[in-house]
Symmetry: C2
Subunit: 206 residues, 2 copies
DNA sequence: AAGTCATATGACTAGCAAGTCATATGACTA
DNA sequence: TAGTCATATGACTTGCTAGTCATATGACTT
């Protein structure tokens, strides 16, 4: 975490540093991101940087933390209390909020994608850790419940299907998060419908 | 492409260099792979390296070329002449051969994944270029044909479905290519069945 | 034996990186 | 006014990188 000196900074200067860091991490992997570049862009000295953060990793984790905080605000009622809602409704909400986050925070999205696409990097293990596994488990619980309630046919392989839905959702959001601004809203709704239709045809109870 | 001097080398020495390069590119992105590391591992001098290859990119492209050659040997009759075979058979073959390649050539697979996961890198554009787009188009042609023949229901969005099948196949192979050796053959067959079942339920004509 | 030519070498250049540290500033305190 | 303390600075160290080049080797030719 950033040092006290960082939080003591005037809001404006702090934001300038965050902006500079995001600009660098948007366009570079963790390894190839340069602190020299960041401080030059934020117009602070090398020494100051190291009085705000322990090292590059410290700064990076802070940016990721900010992203997670932002993402939290996109949780819908159905996501917060999934068992009280229909399975397909929950899945739809998750994808919709994912798409909306990507739309509203393209810079965070880019940084997140760079992280997600480098699972072999040590920093991935440190940050994502068991998150992926937990997500699979969550999907499995939802699927099991949906089979109980009769929403989903019972002859699927739950673990496998959970993984596939997770993967497909991620790819779906990654791939389509570059829709142009003007047709965004309609494009989103339409895409989501196609996606859900594919999914529902695949596993919905007949 | 490598220089003549490289091809004049005794087979054994050439292989040692390829091995060293693969070891490095398996565990590092193109940028962070180190020529110093490669020459040290291959036990050749810096000067020699630059008499075999123009630069790091030259070597890297050669490795990718070797991988493509290997992959070519996995093409099945159904893949070579897809319109003479059933749609789901072709898709099944493509995934099966993808899985088999991953199993038999885990080192190439790892290198390929690192490349595929960095679409923002200049080298990606240079090597993959429009390959992805071509793949989408190929899937679209197959889907259109399958709709004509009545294998696939006609009320799907072809372009969207093509993308999703492509993405899902890639992820499926990536994710499952780490099955353990002993249960490989049965595991593969079972997985493929689950995958195809999900797909067929999703888009097969009723 | 003398000459030629492909191949091999590693010291060297130039550049960039992360992180350190002695020094400076300037506000607030006693 | 003198002292203290948080903050700011950039030259510097250390360590890495890709790529170059003068020099050396040794096989084969004339």
């Amino acid at each position: 975490m950033p040092k006290d000196t960082f939080y003591n900074l005037p809001e404006e200067k702090r934001q300038k540093i965050i902006d500079a860091a995001m600009l660098e991490f948007e366009n570079n992997s963790f390894d190839s991101a340069s602190i020299n570049q960041i401080i030059s862009s934020a117009q602070i000295s090398k020494g100051s940087f190291y009085q705000y953060f322990d090292d590059k990793k410290d700064l990076y984790k802070h940016i990721i933390e900010l992203m997670i905080q932002k993402k939290m605000t996109y949780i819908t009622p159905a996501m917060q209390n999934p068992f009280a809602h229909g399975f397909f409704e929950v899945i739809r909400d998750m994808n919709q909020s994912g798409l909306e986050f990507a739309k509203n925070h393209p810079r965070f999205t880019k940084i997140g994608n760079l992280l997600l696409r480098n699972p072999s990097h040590p920093i991935y293990l440190e940050i994502i850790s068991g998150g992926q596994e937990q997500a699979y488990k969550a999907y499995e619980m939802l699927l099991n419940r949906a089979i109980e309630t009769g929403e989903v046919r019972s002859n699927i392989d739950v673990a496998f299907t959970a993984k596939m839905i997770f993967k497909l959702s991620s790819e779906f959001i990654l791939e389509e998060s570059d829709l142009t601004a003007e047709n965004w809203t309609e494009g989103l709704a339409e895409l989501l419908n196609k996606f859900m239709s594919l999914l529902e045809n695949g596993i919905k109870a007949k």
